[in-house]
């Protein structure tokens, strides 16, 4: 399950690393001189108090923001910046803090849209929706159905996403990202605004994705409990600066982290 582009990376090796990256809007420094890496096959958590620059970090990784300084190494290729489509082509998928689904489309179409990059049949076959185009459509529908099955959302297949409850929308967004068969999956607060039960479900899904598809995952999450259970390694940002990096236990013990969290109300 890997997207084209970039050489194969062995499990445990560095899949992506950001080196001394800095980003600022006008005067505001969102991220300053941050470096860390993500190894293939791991679940990597990025945590930190509000406004720590976590989301900006994800936006840099998948090319929505271009950092002013620093480099990004992905699958052995080093760039000073990433373009969104480069990221997508390279196999980086993501979900968003506040759901960014295609609200006018059904669950099925949202997932199918996630397959766009994998669908190659040209315009004129599309026009006829016949032969190769149909075959392709069917093949990808089949893949998408496996995701539907995996996420247990069979009963909302034809529902316009605008009508779905928040929890399901979050799950569907994960599905859309999975549909891209990513090598690296960025989750921006996948459990934000969920009740306990939904959080447990989502955690299970995240773990299953990691074990079942072997997908590398980088996630931002506020719920410390969740982070500690899910992640193999954690990097902690505060006001755009990296203040800690290590296993959940190491991080938990780290004084700087504790201060940072005591510093802000939660």
């Amino acid at each position: 399950m890997r997207a084209p582009g970039g050489p194969e990376v062995a499990v445990g090796d560095v899949l992506l690393s950001v080196e001394n990256v800095s980003l600022s809007f006008g005067g505001v420094k969102a991220v300053s001189d941050v470096s860390f890496d993500i190894r293939k096959g791991e679940i990597r958590a990025i945590i930190g108090p509000n406004g720590a620059g976590k989301t900006s970090m994800l936006n840099i990784i998948n090319g929505f923001y271009q950092p002013q300084q620093g480099r990004i190494m992905f699958k052995g290729e080093t760039r000073s910046k990433m373009r969104p489509h480069e990221a997508a082509d390279g196999g980086i998928a993501r979900t968003f803090q506040n759901v960014a689904l295609f609200r006018g489309m059904t669950t099925l179409d949202n997932l199918m849209a996630g397959r766009t990059l994998k669908m190659k049949k040209n315009f004129f076959w599309q026009l006829l929706r016949y032969g190769p185009a149909m075959a392709e459509e069917v093949e990808h529908r089949h893949r998408v159905e496996q995701i539907i099955d995996f996420l247990k959302i069979q009963n909302i297949r034809r529902t316009p996403v605008a009508q779905l409850p928040y929890g399901l929308q979050k799950r569907l967004e994960l599905g859309r990202a999975l549909a891209m068969e990513p090598d690296l999956l960025l989750l921006d607060e996948p459990m934000a605004g969920m009740n306990l039960e939904e959080k447990e479900d989502m955690s299970r899904f995240v773990l299953d994705v990691n074990s079942h598809f072997g997908t590398t995952i980088a996630l931002i999450e506020h719920d410390m409990g969740v982070v500690m259970d899910l992640s193999d390694r954690v990097v902690v940002l505060d006001h755009g600066i990296k203040i800690a990096d290590g296993t959940p236990d190491e991080v938990k013990g780290n004084q700087a982290v504790i201060d940072a969290y005591l510093g802000v109300a939660h």
């Binding site: 529908r141 089949h142 159905e145 496996q146 539907i148 099955d149 995996f150 247990k152 069979q154 009963n155 297949r157 299953d208 074990s211 079942h212």
Partner: protein, 657 residues
């Protein structure tokens, strides 16, 4: 349909081969999976199952060994049953929702070495009781999800097993010959499956059924209901339940019709609608639930639509059943019904998924006349049957055109029924079981000396229709002092079918006559009260209201009338009744957690009332301790009125069962 051909085949594997020949290209199984109905023809199924059997054999499954089947209705589990039967091994289906306790009991008792299970959930359940199952060796599963990191030394995916079998078959021609020989070697007298009765009465017992008998029975009913290879059934009831194994598996193989498995529990309703079965079974509970849903959804409809709906349902009640039974109906009636069919019945059946149903059965418990009538009146050919696991389901069934809500029909073809002196129903049937697994004592208990099976149910044959009526569990049936049969449940149910009446407790055993204590249904009677602006402050007040008494009295009178119809029951008419001042409640121990009345307990608790019922007093005082919602205890006391009923004259013939 080729019953004669099937007569030749005396095991299910042989039937499978026959079907592959007769209906090779016709669908045998469908499953809603990945958004579409995956379909397997009889030929494909045979092919898969042969490979599967070979694979299982290579895993070490041998003739005579048992293999547990745990999970929901899925083709792969049905194939597991078939594959096991091919090898002469005995499948032992277990309810998917069984708790670890029951599961371990059954698996241990059946001494299974193998288990074919649905998914991680079931595997975890089994592993949790592993130490109690020393014999258990290999498990095969359908769904891989979540099992990646499990130790696979004793775990395989069914697909792999089948694949392994295929390779073996392809690699070495003798294997094919060998498996065919195995199938041929299977004898009709061998056990074909062991169905464990759900443990409602004591610990569950393993009912052993043989292939030959199963097929005989199925063949009879298939002919009885004119089922054929074009029929479709939805397998949505537990795979371990005799009903599913008989109605879908056995009859399916005999008639060659296709069995469809739903995608999952949430979508079952939708799947029913998509697949549109032509042969359908549902227990009364399900039918009741469906009807309530219909009525609730209609409440939200626009005024006109609602009016129209209820008007035509009325029309259906008047003419529907008569038309369905082919009796003659006035032209106006037929016209109205035809219009109703366009506007209501047909669309309704369509949204419920019943459009294509030719034969539908209900069984398991007594069904309310109104409920029963509703479905029949909109043109659904719903019938009742009576049966049990020991009979491989069918004992009696209602033939088309002879349908009554209060009978279960005459004996099925080749079934021989006898009523014991204590009113217990005894039978001999083609499909009757070979005995309980590893329990000859219980087997003996369950049989009469001359080889009849004791059903444990009391019943009698209705003179007019010649149909069997089941009245109660035999052990619960008492007698009045004059010797008249007194089946409390029967009387209670007759009353409970009235929407006004929630619960009923009947007394009469070893007494001169029958009395009942009644709980009214607060919602039903409450709304009645609003409509007739009867003011009331509490349940107690409403229960004591004289108009309510009048209303209930009417119901009781009707029940008496219907009891008087049967000479057997006529003597057991209700002489006196009262309406309890409080709702019977599980928290007060008056009901079981499954909402069954605990007659004995109530008799003690309301001793004063029972006494009053029989000493002729017009009313009685009672004070009882109650537990409130929040768990506080308190006592409520009341003066409860008692009504006398006049009873119908007992028909001449005198009483005798």
């Amino acid at each position: 349909m080729a019953p004669n051909a099937s007569a030749a085949a005396d095991t299910f594997p042989k039937l499978l081969i026959r079907n592959a020949l007769l209906y090779g290209t016709r669908p045998a199984m469908r499953q809603k999976d990945l958004g579409i109905w995956q379909t397997w023809t009889w030929a494909e199924v045979l092919d898969i199952v042969r490979a599967y059997a070979v694979g299982l054999h290579r895993l070490g499954l041998k003739r005579g060994e048992t293999i547990a089947i745990v999970g929901a209705n899925r083709p792969k589990l049905y194939w597991s049953v078939m594959a096991a039967q091919m090898l002469g091994a005995v499948p032992v289906p277990v309810y998917a929702d069984a708790v670890a306790e029951e599961l371990s009991f059954v698996l241990a008792h059946a001494e299974v070495r193998y288990a074919a299970v649905e998914d991680q959930e079931q595997i975890d359940k089994i592993l949790s009781v592993k130490e109690r199952l020393p014999k258990l060796d290999q498990m095969v599963y359908d769904e891989e999800r979540g099992l990646r990191d499990y130790d696979h030394s004793h775990l395989r995916s069914i697909d792999d097993v089948i694949e392994d079998g295929r390779k073996a078959l392809a690699g070495d021609p003798t294997v094919a010959a060998w498996i065919d020989a195995e199938i041929a070697a299977g004898k009709g007298s061998d056990p074909s499956i062991i169905l464990y009765t759900s443990g409602t009465t004591g610990t569950s017992k393993g009912v052993v059924l043989t292939g030959e008998r199963s097929i005989k029975a199925a063949t009879d009913t298939v002919i009885f209901d004119k089922l054929n290879e074009n029929d479709v059934a939805l397998a949505y009831l537990p795979l371990a339940w005799v009903g599913d194994h008989y109605l879908n598996y056995a009859q399916g193989l005999v008639a060659g019709f296709s069995m469809a498995c739903p995608e999952n529990a949430d979508t079952a309703m939708q799947d029913l609608r998509e697949i549109g079965p032509s042969f359908y079974f549902a227990p009364p509970r399900t039918l009741e639930m469906l009807l309530t849903r219909v009525m609730i959804r209609m409440e939200d409809a626009g005024f006109l639509k609602r009016k129209m709906f209820h008007y035509f349902i009325g029309v259906a009640r008047r003419y529907g059943e008569r038309i369905l039974n082919g009796q003659q109906v006035a032209l106006t009636g037929r016209l109205l019904y035809a219009i109703g069919n366009i506007l209501v019945y047909a669309p309704l059946k369509n949204v419920l998924g019943f459009s294509r149903v030719r034969v539908a059965y209900t069984a398991g418990e007594a069904i309310g006349p109104d409920l029963f009538a509703f479905y029949r009146s909109i043109g659904l050919n719903l019938k009742q049957l009576y049966g049990q696991t020991e009979a491989f389901l069918y004992v009696t069934a209602q033939p088309d055109g002879e349908i009554y809500s209060d009978t279960v029909g005459p004996a099925c073809p080749n079934v021989d029924i006898r009523i014991a002196d204590n009113g217990e129903v005894l039978f001999k049937s083609p499909g009757m079981f070979a005995g309980y697994f590893k329990d000859d004592a219980k087997t003996a208990e369950a049989m009469t000396l001359d080889g009849y099976v004791k059903t444990g149910d009391a019943g009698f044959f209705d003179e007019k229709t010649g149909h069997l009526k089941i009245i109660d569990r035999a052990k619960d049936v008492g007698r009045l002092t004059d010797g008249t049969l007194f089946p409390p449940k029967y009387i209670e149910n007759k009353l409970k079918f009235y929407p006004n009446i929630r619960e009923v407790v009947a007394y009469g055993d070893q007494r001169d006559f029958v009395c009942v204590m009644i709980n009214i249904d607060l919602t039903a009677v409450g709304s009645w009260a609003e409509r007739n602006n009867v003011v009331y402050g509490s349940y107690q007040e409403l229960a004591g209201h004289s108009q309510v008494y009048d209303m209930v009295e009417k119901n009781v009178a009707e029940v008496n009338r219907s009891l008087a119809q049967d000479t057997v029951m006529a003597g057991a008419q209700i002489k006196r009744f009262l309406i309890l001042h409080k709702e019977l409640d599980a928290d007060d121990g008056e009901l079981t957690r499954t909402q069954k009345v605990r007659r004995g307990f109530i008799a003690d608790r309301y001793g004063a009332l029972v006494k009053a019922l029989y000493d002729g007093s017009k009313e009685a005082d009672i004070s009882t301790e109650v537990t409130f919602e929040d768990g506080r205890k308190g006592t409520i006391s009341a003066r409860v009125k008692i009504r006398d009923m006049k009873t119908e004259p007992v028909p001449a013939m005198g009483k005798a069962a």
